[in-house]
């Protein structure tokens, strides 16, 4: 009965996942298999599928009746199942016992949310589509969520970002500016830029970004609408947002979103001046100035000068102020100037000029960008301009295609008034036709309604611009064209730069391992190699996983040191972050008795000192 399992290795892989529809198995004669909507691994013999589905769902229902509450976690001796019970549906995701339960629950929620994001309500999807089609989707989402080499990524369910230590901060800034520029179109809610499956910049919450990334990372099987006029690089698909996601996007579009992907680059920029940054800053002042009407007044111009001493202009403040979604530039489609916009002219001009330097609007961007990005950018820029020209002609046809799309916009638009009191609201409402009432996609009254939106993707090789847009954006030829053209050249430039960045020589082996999780952005920084069989890293991953669970369960816990015979790991957390640190080498020999000279207790100060150069501040 007593087994010593010394060498249990944590495995993050999900062992089972199934969706069982109890409503199909109500009568005595109904076979359990009727209720199995999806089962992973798919090659599991049917009788075993039936056994697991039938028993787990049955026992789960019994317990939930006794406690008058759905079951959340079900443990077997060898597998822990995260459970979701809703209506007659029963989801179960089984991981090996070493995976923290909290991570398994998060994974299951992500999976279900992903499905709903791309397909709408589960019940409705199973009415509309065949089981096979949907099985392929579950499989796709599952494999997407399980991809990634680092076990730590599964423990924290974090967003995969580009390695910002290798990327020039100005490129990150540029990406953010592209997104801001797109957001000037009132039909664009928010967006993100991804490069080879990693986030470069995002305006959305980490959860939403994660959802969007699935579509980018794998060619969605849903046959997305592509727009041939743009060389097949633009596509779209319907997605479904929850009310809270929508409200979040609409309520504080800037304060929350713009801030975070930008701050770090600013700091870094002021600290180190790489060669690239100098190039970036030098060129616009000479080349793009003549054509750039706004930039001449821009206080930011100075910041791009080689001197760069006055970094205060890069303080995040201008970015924190709401962006003016109402464009001042004439080329903007059916743009109307709201009177309020004029009142804030000072701030806006300041802001605008800053933007128009970079991924600005319309004609400006061609020159601006191409000049910024030197030789190859000219090429791309030229192509972009040309494409835009062709687009004008082809647009009509292309966008008509979208016209047939169901007019999904319903109650959503009335909620837009909540858009943070931004002056643009009136302007936007004016241009939006009254929504046809009652055409909503909200499923059933008791369910949390899902609101259909469109996901617009513009792909430039490995780079993808993903935008969440109002459904009728795609029928709004002018808007779409506008967004396309305004971002095209900048995207080309950005892609060219990101592509040339070598992955960076793997860090020289350091005498320590650390992992730093940013809870707000859901990002993970670590120097773990992620090599399979990284045996020395095992103890670290195991300790981190335990500590993470402990931090999640105990709100007041701030710091912990735990030591086994093989490793001592220090964990520290605040509201915004969790940090884990292990020192290699040194004498691990200890008697286990309290000793203040013990190296384990020096970990906090070592971590504080060592992690500074990774940009981790433990105070």
């Amino acid at each position: 009965r007593y087994r010593y399992n010394i060498n249990i290795l944590p495995s993050s892989k999900c062992n089972y996942f199934f969706l069982y529809d109890g409503s199909k198995v109500k009568g005595e004669g109904d076979a359990t298999r009727e209720g199995i909507c999806y089962f992973y691994p798919e090659e599991t013999p049917l009788d075993k599928q039936e056994l697991l589905c039938g028993q787990l769902a049955g026992a789960g229902r019994c317990v939930s009746e006794l406690s008058a509450s759905p079951v959340r976690i079900l443990r077997l001796r060898r597998n822990n199942f995260a459970i979701r019970m809703k209506d007659d549906f029963f989801w179960a995701l089984g991981c090996s016992a070493e995976v923290p339960t909290i991570s398994a629950c998060e994974l299951l929620d992500q999976l279900i949310n992903l499905f709903c994001f791309y397909n709408g309500s589960v019940r409705q999807s199973y009415q509309l589509y065949s089981q096979e089609t949907l099985a392929a989707r579950w499989a796709q989402y599952l494999s997407h969520l399980q991809s990634g080499s680092l076990e730590l990524q599964h423990i924290f369910s974090c967003l995969r970002t580009i390695d910002s230590t290798n990327v020039d901060p100005l490129l990150l800034l540029k990406a953010a500016l592209i997104l801001q520029a797109c957001q000037r179109c009132p039909l664009v809610l928010a967006g993100c830029i991804l490069f080879r499956g990693r986030v470069v910049s995002t305006q959305m919450s980490p959860e939403l970004t994660m959802k969007v990334m699935v579509h980018e990372s794998e060619t969605h099987t849903k046959a997305p609408s592509t727009f041939s006029s743009f060389g097949g690089v633009v596509s779209s698909t319907t997605v479904f947002l929850t009310m809270s996601e929508l409200q979040y996007l609409q309520s504080a579009p800037v304060d929350k979103d713009f801030r975070y992907s930008h701050r770090t680059p600013h700091k870094n920029t002021s600290k180190k001046k790489t060669r690239l940054s100098r190039t970036l800053s030098d060129t616009p002042s000479t080349e793009s100035e003549p054509s750039d009407t706004g930039s001449s007044q821009s206080p930011l111009k100075g910041s791009f000068s080689p001197h760069f001493s006055d970094s205060s202009v890069f303080s995040p403040d201008p970015l924190d102020s709401p962006p003016p979604p109402q464009p001042l530039q004439p080329p903007f489609p059916n743009g109307k100037l709201s009177p309020e916009a004029e009142e804030e002219a000072l701030e806006e001009s300041y802001y605008y000029s800053f933007h128009s330097n970079e991924g600005g609007v319309s004609q400006l961007h061609n020159e601006g960008d191409s000049s910024l990005f030197e030789g190859n950018s000219y090429l791309n820029g030229g192509g972009g301009g040309g494409g835009g020209g062709d687009g004008d002609a082809a647009c009509g046809a292309v966008f008509d295609f979208r016209g047939a799309e169901e007019s999904h916009h319903d109650t959503v638009f009335t909620k837009e008034a909540s858009r943070g009191g931004c002056e643009s609201v009136q302007g936007r409402q004016a241009e939006i036709p009254d929504p046809p009432p009652g055409s909503g996609a909200s499923d059933s009254p008791e369910e949390c309604p899902l609101v259909p939106m469109m996901l617009y993707l513009h792909r430039v090789k490995g780079l993808v611009l993903a935008l969440l847009v109002e459904p009728h954006f795609l029928s709004d030829t002018a808007s779409m064209e506008e967004v396309y053209h305004s971002s095209l050249a900048s995207l080309n430039g950005l892609e060219a730069h990101l592509r040339t960045i070598c992955p960076g020589a793997p860090d020289a082996p350091r005498p320590y391992i650390f992992a730093h999780f940013d809870c707000i952005q859901s990002t993970l920084t670590t120097n773990l190699s992620g090599r399979p069989g990284g045996a020395p890293e095992r103890p670290f991953v195991r300790a981190t996983s335990l500590l993470h669970s402990h931090f999640c369960n105990t709100e007041t816990l701030q710091e912990a040191i735990i030591r086994s015979a093989g490793a001592a790991v220090y964990g520290s957390r605040s509201v915004a972050q969790e940090t884990y640190f292990q020192q290699h080498g040194g004498s691990l020999r200890n008697s286990g008795i309290p000793n203040h000279q013990d190296s384990a207790f020096l970990l906090p100060s070592k971590a504080r000192h060592r992690l500074l150069k990774h940009g981790v501040n433990l105070l």
Partner: protein, 682 residues
Amino acid sequence: MKCLLIASESAEVLFQWTDPEFQQNVQEQYGASQEEGHGLPAFEDSISTLFAPIIISCSTMVDRLCDSYTSFTTENNHIYVLHQFDECLYIAVNGDGEEGEGDLRRKIYVMKKMIEVMFGMVTLSSNLLRRELRPQDTEQRARLWKHLQSLLETYSQLRENDQSFLVEAVERLIHPTLCEQCIEFLERRLVQQLNGSVERAGEEVLHAFILIHTKLLAFYSSRNASSLSTSDLLTLIIMAQNMYPSNIDLDDPHPEWESNLGLPHQRHVSYPLCHPHQHLHLCVSAADKPVRGSTPVFEFVDPDVQMAEDSLQALEVPPPAPSTPRRVFLEVSLKDGLYPMMPHSMYCLPLWPGISLVMLTKIPTSAVAMSVYMFLEAFAKLEKRLSEGQEGSAASRGQPTIHDVRSKLDKFIKALGPSEIQSAQLQNVWTEFKNRAFSRGGPGFNRDLIPWCKNMKTQLCGIYRQCFLIESGKADIPQRLSPSLQERAQTMMQEKLMDWKDFLLVKSKRNITMVSYPDFPGLIHFICVDRSTGQMIAPSLNITERNTSELGKGPVAQFIKSKVWSLVSTTRRYLQKGYSTVTLRDGDFYFCYFLWFENETGYKLEAGDIPILPDDSAPIGMLAWDYYRKLLRYYSKNHQGEVVKCYELLTVHLGVIPTEIILQHCRQLASKLWEPSRNPLL
């Protein structure tokens, strides 16, 4: 909302305990599904109906997937923990957030431990145990369950309020001089006199100890006794506490026993471990249904009580005469090996409220238990080898050899013949076994013999049951220390402690206090445990109005207490995963936990690997399952020929104290508390 349920595989309830909230919940649910006018069904039936799907699903999972449920958690944080021991499924439920998964699993193991102490090797046969836990006679069942329920409640209360039951180690009353005097008294006067008396009816006092509430004042074991394991000692303390509860830890500001001084303070109804005499039905095959004749006769109660039992109020039986011992089954380690669940009699003599003398005696027939155990083990090993596919001589090999067992068992059965014990059934099964296994041309040793191994085990358990669970039929020679002998022991001890009793009662509440540690500024609390001896010391942590410690009373003390309790469960979780040092900065506090090994001379040994255990492994502690004994054995592998000792230290400091100072404190405590004399320097 709490519940503990034991069910058979066929969803028959073998035991249930629920608190009022859970009972109400079940009744509401069951009521909702019932037709109007039918009235509520018996509670036991409702609970069985409601849990049946889970129980049945559980056995399906075991049969078909070789896996089983270990727990459920609902969104409103109700926790269900399940554990199967042989054919008995234990389910513990909590719906009020007071217990976690670990606590519930511990409760299940403690319940199992108490059943083992009460029923001994009968627990090795699921069939017999099922009938033992669920007597056909409903009154008898109600009494048994009530007794078990009360034990469980006593345990839960101790675990929630008593530090020694929190860390599962015995707490000694720190008073070396008095302790020594008492041990001498127990040895030279008490035990010698009892064992020299003719009134002991063949019993022999092996252990005697004095309890002040739950704390040990003195413990004496006779020379030829094996040592009492910590697990057993803690269980006996629970039983003693259940018999004579001390309400002092409760938030009851007016304990009544000062008014009725001298009388045992009874709170719970106790169930004596004696069964009504009945016809024996050793064969457990389904066809053989026990037939019960007349109303059961209780030997220990007088006819008046017997009558009262027929009425409904009879469930509140008065306690048995104090002179009736309890049959307890305890582990005995002899030179030739470890014998679990050997029968003893337990005498718990109240001296004053809160102070009692406990004596454990060896009963004259205990040699039978050792033989039965030896045979059981031999058949179990044989069964294991056969089920592994070994056949013929490969299967019959082993220590002792099957031929050895054969001749011994023949002799054993022969010896049983003239006694009262009904051994015909055993003899029949044994004859059949021999025919199959040993006769020329017979099937021999192969898989077909497995059912016969099982049957032999059941028969042996049946003999054991007759010998030790059922009072011998003739009431003329009671097998116990005579009441007058017990009275004499009680009086002697009372005389000895008369002058000390008030002091002892106060001392037990303030065993040691943090005031004794002025050199440790910022230290709020600590617990130090010697796992080799199963003893702990910690400053008293009283939170009642009557007994304020330096921590004051009310919410602050309660808060510290809850922190200490949660710290213990946290560190156990880390220990389970192989971490022997833990420090935590939590709110305004800094917690430390250390586990280390020393050799006998106090030399600190290097920290070694600590096994990593699965989540559903037995709880870490010493009461239900001795984790530390296994740990020591595991660690000692690399320290052959050395006596290894294991210690634990937990501290709570104010968070503002610099870590270096905290660690210095810990180091000082660790070296000071258990210096060579083993008596804390205080």
